[in-house]
Symmetry: C2
Subunit: 327 residues, 2 copies
């Protein structure tokens, strides 16, 4: 089986690659070839017996989509995107990469389909940014698309395209609406949502972290491990069970910042909690107020997608996957 | 005030033009100039004191959108579209006209906005085809987008773009989700939805009409007069009251085919009803089963959009507007 990951150098792309290399299989099939593409060349994974092509490529550049499809990958994970903040600051770039790039990919597959019946599984990462306040809690599966950012708009549009191209039979698409990923590994970054991870990840290794919002802010989380699990399940699930509505709000954990902190206290003690510094930030508070507090995710749950049930568990996953199992 | 109508040669475009000419005003402003554009040159309206430009133009052609925006119309009605059946048969054409064409228009306005602060009111005709079965009845305002055609997908995408471009401040957009228009004037056509109008319009003038579905089929209707009323109200409404969710399911009348026929009997007598010939058509029955039975339209109703309350009224509107008030 030949698997293509577009956006393979990102955090989720790297973890997905590791998982595929570790498993050596995807569903019932052995993974023989991995094509890893991103705007910076992805690292070649260690310990993979099959063929690896890891290269630089910009999906929005002319001819790139056709090149990606040329090798007729059986499964395509499309994870590439300009993130929310950048898509908001650079209108043209956001639409060019997140909308046009995706459409180039979809159309390249469509043309290949017309040529020789090519019909890959396509797993697309969407986002909870497809909805924006005012929102019910929990948000039902049949809630309308109400993005409040250009990024969320672009993701919502790609969801619609994915359903239509799938309905037309050009590919077998599934859209995975990822919760906010927590605990995001790496350094603190400037994303407005960064603090949800920072306030756990940094104290776990004895570092200070800044909390810019109040403890009653409620949001929707899943671990990087679960996010990869969603993508793998999306790549192997029987799509007849999914039906024509191909975009699924993934399960996750709805928690307040206060609940996150209590979990940190239980797992790592009061000393860790004391490293959280409160620095209210009006701008971040205003942005976060528009975000999703949590989804019902009934369909995805029934379809076998699973996530963590407590923040203690999310923290333990981070300790296992990022800190070698030790605090 | 300068008003641009894109898609002015279509049925709704012609009726909107007539209404604007008759009123001479739009809201508090007098109409000084009308620019009427379509793929075939629209007819010049009679009895209009102001300037009329009526010309041929294809929104998806290079440079056309910029040309439309050049005269800086204060209000733009964007009604142009490839219809559902054609968009389904010709994938490329549907996306080119219904999606790319609309995006060219939106981007031409955005560039003009960046140049000189231009910010028109933009009234976009969307469609109930943005949803597809299985559907609740009535469909609430917050129901998700579930198109089952490429046409519905294209309309849904344009709705999302309209909200985002409005949020960004490039124009003041409003999306008007039109019910099926009934009674559609003119000759019977081959649109799958044509029978909803045919079974009333033809018997009203002593002609036979074919009914391809059963009498219990429920659908969502409004008269051409109301449709024009929606557009006018959308062009003049205070958008602060509408808020950031700019696409509104219009009010309409939910009725079964049997209820349509009963209204015909009340208005035009048993002789008219006898002109309806039952010819069940499996394909049409299957298509119609996916269509919307009716919407709650709570927001639009609260915002002052109004439609007919009975099919008797819809038939009387047709008699007044198309048959000179006489049967």
């Amino acid at each position: 089986m030949h698997i293509l990951i577009i956006g393979a150098a990102g955090m989720v792309g790297r973890k997905l690659t590791q998982r595929l290399v570790k498993d050596g299989t995807l569903g019932a099939n052995s993974v023989e070839k991995l094509t890893l593409v991103d705007v910076v060349a992805p690292e070649r994974p260690q310990g993979f017996a099959g063929t690896v092509v890891a290269r630089e490529g910009d999906l929005s550049a002319s001819g790139e989509a056709e090149k990606l499809v040329e090798g007729r990958p059986d499964v395509i994970f499309h994870l590439a995107a300009i993130v929310s903040g950048e898509a908001e600051l650079d209108f043209d770039k956001g639409y060019r990469i997140n909308l046009d790039g995706t459409r180039y990919l979809f159309d390249a597959i469509r043309l290949a389909h017309d040529q020789d019946g090519y019909k890959p599984r396509l797993v697309f990462t969407s986002s909870i940014a497809v909805v924006g306040a005012p929102l019910p809690f929990p948000i039902p599966d049949d809630y309308h698309l109400t993005p409040l950012t250009s990024y969320g708009t672009q993701k919502a549009i790609c969801e619609l395209l994915l359903s239509d191209y799938s309905r037309r039979g050009f590919f077998d698409g599934i859209g995975i609406r990822l919760p906010t990923i927590c605990i995001r590994p790496g350094k603190p970054n400037k994303a407005a949502s960064g603090f949800f991870s920072n306030i756990l990840r940094e104290p776990l290794v004895g570092q200070e972290a800044v909390l810019p919002v109040s403890e009653d802010v409620r949001h929707w989380h899943t671990s990087p491990r679960s996010a990869v699990g969603f993508l793998i399940h999306g790549a192997t699930i029987n799509l007849e069970k999914v039906g024509p509505r191909r975009n699924l709000s993934m399960p996750g954990l709805s928690a307040t910042v206060g609940e996150q902190i209590e979990a940190l206290r239980r797992v790592a003690g009061e000393k860790a909690v004391q490293l959280i510094r409160r620095e209210p930030d009006e701008m971040i508070m205003k942005m976060v107020a528009g975000w999703a507090p949590g989804f019902e995710a009934k369909r995805a749950t029934e379809l076998g997608f699973t996530a963590e049930k407590s923040f203690d568990e999310i923290i333990r996953v981070h300790i296992e996957d990022e800190l070698g199992g030790k605090l």
